[in-house]
Amino acid sequence: MDAKSIIVNIIVCIKQILDPEIPARDFRVEREKKEAVRGSANLVTNIFCENALETALQLREKSGGKITALTFGAEEAEDALRKALAMKADAAALVVNDGHPHPDPLAVAQTLAAAIRKIGAFDLVMLGRESGDWGVAQTGGLLAEELGAPCVSFVDHIEAGDDGLIVKRQTENGWEKLAAKPPLVVTVTNNEFNVPRIPKTRDIMMSARQPITKWTLEDIGVDSAQIRAGGDYYEVVDLAVPVKEVSCEFVSGDTLEQKVEKFAERVIEITRAL
């Protein structure tokens, strides 16, 4: 097989989340619903999903292929797909979630797997390593199992190799390179080279007119009652904002030298007690 033509279909799964940049003082939860209050916060694409899309775009630039952005979310999640199209994904599909706002990870993986089977053949499915809201970090692994595909996590670079793909991923204190034969599922983490590109104005305008495939749960043939109820994998029984009070002591002194001296004394005092 020609190395350059190994990658044909890339599916990048993306998730729209509550903007994680909202300051802690503006953050509230509804304990009854076990949900964060949206308030005036924006909905944004999860950053690792954008890192995944950027990694996919760089792979396509070198080795070709077609990138489909896929999301399972509320109607508003269409905005995240428009942004993916503006970044130059080739196609976009939305599975509309009209049920539980935060289905459990197995329900999400089963839905994504059904949508991917509906899209058809795939060589590479890419996801963010975790989301900035619930940070579950399981969708990639569960999706790989649903699809019967191997999985590599914490990936930050992919290139075509002699006999498949060369996948680089981060470990605790370095990295590993894997030779992988598609089809394959990877979860993507960030590095300095996959910072998401800023879409051009012209592409943003064009993305508004591009078609987005929309499916209901029934369209993709999943057990919709189960998924709508949020799944039976796990249940969030409580969501609370922790109360944390630490008062910072600003070191005092008339000169910088005195202040730094106090700071140094505190450092030594603490490190000696460790």
Binding site: P20, P23, T171, W175, V236, L256, F263, A264
Partner: protein, 323 residues
């Protein structure tokens, strides 16, 4: 269905992560009145086996040739096989790369349910519940796992070790599995950026730099400062994304979760995503030019000054005090 499994990948010895997992496993097994099994996967580590054997009731080592070095598919197949034999109520992991990669897939294969990066583990009417930090550390969720086994990866340093009992009778079984080869993925190259250095997760002292440093050069100063304190150097996401330091240094919701005795944040504003990575630090100190930076809301002591002026003086003062 009352036995508990702990699963460890060798390579870091009986470090604080292994101790935390072993401690959590022992307590959970005692609560369920079950046996504690340990699976140790990867290169043979006699010291680790001896220490784990003094906490667990049975140890299975997976160190045959094909498994001595981790391979995602083969290691998962082997661990799944052993777990099916044991049929545990729960399987506990640490929060290293291999554990996070393995746990959700193992849960799927065993018909169980997984939860990750857990800060606390408890039982409620016979069900297993975990607490985890969500929304970038702004909230804590309690989650009940509805399927069995519960497969949980722990923010291991949040869990107390247990005293080892060398008098206990533990069987150690070196398993040879007939594994079918799986060449769909294969690790072909490994590189450790800080050879010999201990993991950031295990550091007693961490000196960390952020966007305010303005470039890669100041990290040399931070490394010197960290070395003086017997600590390690880390960074915020902004600094890593700018390429000023390796991604393995990144601390925060999107990086490592660390728990040092002292964390010194230099020119880090302290956005909640960064704070999510250091919520288990015993003491946080900050050096920042902006008195309104959120980092000061979460630290024990701080200095409002330009780090460029502070760091050289601080090194001098520390050297004098350490004499």
């Amino acid at each position: 269905m009352s036995d508990i499994v702990i699963c460890l990948f060798s390579g870091s010895g009986y470090d604080r992560v292994a101790q935390g997992v072993a401690g959590a496993g022992r307590r959970l097994a005692d609560q369920f009145d079950g046996r504690l099994h340990a699976i140790i996967a990867g290169a043979h580590d006699p010291e680790l086996i001896i220490r784990i054997a003094s906490v667990a009731d049975a140890v299975v080592t997976l160190d045959q040739k094909e498994l001595a070095q981790y391979q995602p598919e083969l290691s998962l197949n082997a661990i799944t096989h052993i777990c099916r034999e044991i049929a545990p109520r729960a399987v506990l992991f640490g929060n290293d790369t291999y554990s996070q990669e393995t746990a959700p897939r193992l849960a799927h294969r065993l018909g169980g349910a997984a939860a990750g990066d857990c800060l606390d583990l408890m039982t409620h009417d016979g069900a297993i519940r975990v607490k985890r930090s969500v929304y970038g550390g702004k909230a804590i969720a309690t989650i009940e796992l509805k399927r069995s086994p519960a497969v949980v990866w722990l923010r291991a340093r949040a869990f107390e070790p247990v005293a080892t009992n060398s008098a206990s009778v533990t069987t150690v079984r070196q398993t040879r599995l007939d594994l079918q080869s799986d060449d769909r993925t294969r690790i072909i190259e490994r590189k450790s950026e800080a050879a010999g250095a201990s993991r950031l997760e295990d550091a007693r002292v961490i000196v960390s730099g952020g966007r305010g440093l303005g470039g890669p050069e100041p990290f040399e100063d931070l490394q010197e400062l960290a070395a003086m304190l017997g600590g390690q150097t880390a960074a915020s996401r902004a600094a890593c994304d700018s390429g000023w330091c390796p991604p393995s240094w990144q601390v925060g919701q999107t990086g490592k979760k660390v728990a040092p005795g002292l964390y010194i944040a230099v020119a880090i504003r302290g956005a909640s995503q960064h704070m999510a990575g250091i919520s288990d630090a015993q003491n946080i100190a900050a050096i920042n030019i902006d008195a309104d930076a959120p980092i000061f809301k979460n630290c024990r002591f701080g200095i409002v000054e330009d780090y460029r002026k502070v760091i050289p003086l601080l090194k001098e003062k520390l050297a004098a005090l350490q004499k």
